[in-house]
Symmetry: C2
Subunit: 430 residues, 2 copies
């Protein structure tokens, strides 16, 4: 008999086939057992009828516990009411490994319990859907950038210089030196952009922040594109196309997963260019008009981001923040030197900042001055300064946070479900 | 005037166009300067003739230093002798930033000097070619696995358990706990395979090894696919198709880069299925016949790998090593329980092991016993043991080292050139 992954069962309508997987759920009704079997590629309902199978097999089908692994064989029928469109009349059932008292049941569990059992929780339909959408987002980003002529450049995790102070860095003994875990690959992709033009790094980044908010993880993934000869406007236009592509790809390919998550897709369908762009000045004015206590020169909190983004129905660029609240390497706006040529992209529906980006300082003396101003060491940045010594060019880049993007697209309140094994202040297990 | 990336200049034959980039090299001959300009997408020769441009511009073209950034404009001509197939008769030249005394010149430099200037060295043709091939390999792996129904699952870097002892692990203070930098995501992808069937992680891994060989980095990238319901043979067949796909993709898309590296591509063209498969037993016998000093039960050194692989003209599987020299989680061969159901894939031409893989133990009691035997803690592995408590299934997986694969395909002796910013025993900068 042919074997198939559940996603391919449709090729075997009116034929016999065997599938292997796990017992996701069972419903029984007198002389019928309905087994929902999943194998990671999909789920299918297998109908075991006392009329068709011998009593031992029928009893077995009614007894085995949730998450037992098994093989079922039988006749495939198209049924538009069935999830996936097909079901199977079971004629054979082999239990591979019987599970007893699987810890995660359909009843409610506390979040801490679920996080401690993350290795099992991943099997639930919701968590599978999130992981599939996360994978789709990652694939869409890489596919988009590769098709735009970018070269992926993996920046190092272990770095010798504690670029902007050590307070939020994890450190490790590196033989007879101290190394820090990277918070950003930006400085390295700037170097690579001078070699390859358009590059990106895509990897884990680390922040030793003692915060317990739903918007922070200590280990999170970020994609950081960097483009030679791009100004801020070029970069924002690229971001707009990237975000539009990601959302369109998920809507196109992961409709079933979004349905499992009960995500309102109309909000996602509105994500089309152009995205609104407002200045920091205007954002402050708008926030004050909306009754928020904020003064020009303040950075936004998560609450401010939610309030301002709620005024728009699609992602919102806020650009030209005061340089004083932004990183040392950002180029000043020639028209108003107290402002940085930077932009954050705020997701709609209260999901906060998903991108931060800027045009970089390309003048050596100015960058040296900013390094001094920020109390940083020129020596540690010597290699980075080389990029302004030898063929400096206008360039821009940005960082897109994967987990925040997954949270927004999946409609999840908390980042902990957006990554396979979340790391937070008090969680390092499993 | 239109602007173009150099890769797209062919669309502007017999038209005027402007390109921006860096001065890679210059050759002068009387009243002609030949400027090789690169922008990361490609290189083009711009011909500056004293007949066509004013004397100031001609003098500038003859004076600016290597790696100066500039814009040139002019008329595009097809010329089959030119690298890339096109050249440009320059009518305009703007220097963006003049570089003086660029440290890396066409003369020979020591490796240590080049590694210390890695941020600049990346601009050389060879290093660009390597980075483009590395990016292609990464894209080919992800594309292949995604098309085979795999879901990417990013395993955590920070882990609470020091799986196989702490001697080769980097550690960090994680608030009031100790965390270790991951050497492998395998245990995590095993959990995810029970949820999603076919998964892989793809990220940096770390090994605090005090070795200074050309085959070791302290930070390196690995892809680790894990497949439920795959036995060792299924896994080897998948590896064979993956490696074939990678090599074919690079041959198809990166011919120019392989030419820059002067790679003998005939050796790569032989990489087609089936790959030879020999047992560890046979490998030992063959090695002894070839005069190597090795006894049954010994692990292979790099030298042994080279000797045995040289007997074959394509990648070679060596399977069923003694369990005693392999990891605790490998399933025993039922036919000969002293052997593990494992296989290493050795690259041809002396590039050594690029894949290690195995079928995993799926029996709870047996796995507990192996954990005890290896002096490991059952408590630390409790979550991993859960995978054998609840719906255990036969499953297999493997790890492919990216840098070793890049070294083999590019024909590089040393791993340090296969990653943008290599980390070795004594190198953490830049």
């Amino acid at each position: 008999m042919a074997t198939a992954r559940i996603v391919d069962v449709g090729r075997f309508v009116d034929q016999d086939v065997e599938v292997s997987g796990w017992l996701q759920a069972r419903r029984s009704s007198g002389r019928l057992h309905f087994l929902i079997v999943r194998d990671g590629s999909g789920s299918i309902q297998g109908i075991v009828s006392a009329r068709d199978v011998d009593p031992g097999l029928f009893a077995l089908a009614g007894r085995i516990g949730q998450e037992s692994s098994l093989r079922i064989s039988g006749h495939v029928r198209a049924d538009s009411r069935a999830p996936g469109g097909f079901e199977m009349t079971v004629s054979g059932l082999t239990v591979i490994h019987e599970a007893h008292e699987y810890p995660i049941t359909p009843k409610d569990h506390g979040v801490d319990f679920l996080m401690s059992n993350r290795h099992l929780w991943l099997r639930s339909s919701r968590q599978q859907a999130i992981m599939r959408i996360r994978a789709r987002i990652i694939g869409a980003i890489r596919g988009f950038l590769d098709s735009e002529g970018f070269t992926v450049i993996d920046s190092p995790i272990l770095t010798g210089n504690a670029a902007e102070g050590t307070t939020t860095l994890f450190s490790t003994q590196y033989f007879d030196q101290t190394a820090y875990l990277s918070q950003s690959g930006q400085l390295y992709v700037e170097a690579a952009a001078m070699a390859l033009g358009r590059v990106y790094c895509f990897g884990p980044t680390f922040r030793a922040e003692k915060s317990k908010t739903r918007r922070h993880l200590t280990e999170f993934w970020m994609v950081e594109p960097e483009m030679a000869f791009f100004d801020l406007d070029d970069s924002m236009a690229l971001q707009e196309r990237l975000i539009t592509h990601i959302v369109a790809t998920v809507l196109d390919r992961n409709g079933d997963d979004l349905a499992v998550l009960e995500r309102d897709t109309t909000a996602l369908e509105r994500v089309t260019p152009p995205f609104p762009r407002i200045t920091y000045d205007d954002a402050i004015e708008k926030l004050r008009a909306l009754g928020e206590e904020i003064t020009w020169g303040d950075d936004f909190g998560g609450g401010h981001e939610t309030v301002i983004a709620s005024e728009f129905d699609r992602p919102l660029f806020v650009h030209r923040y005061p340089s004083s609240i932004k990183a040392f390497y950002m180029k000043a706006d020639p028209a108003r030197p107290e402002l940085a040529l930077c932009a954050d992209l705020l997701a709609p529906e209260g999901y906060g900042e998903i991108i931060g980006g800027s045009q970089r300082i390309d003048d050596l003396a100015l960058l040296e001055h900013r390094i001094d101003e920020h109390g940083l060491s020129r020596e540690q940045f010597d290699w980075y300064l080389d990029l302004r010594r030898y063929g400096s060019v206008p360039h821009s880049g940005f960082g897109l946070g994967i987990e925040r993007t997954v949270a927004w697209i999946c409609g999840l309140h908390h980042l902990r479900e957006t990554i396979p094994f979340a790391r937070t202040l008090d969680r390092l297990y499993p």
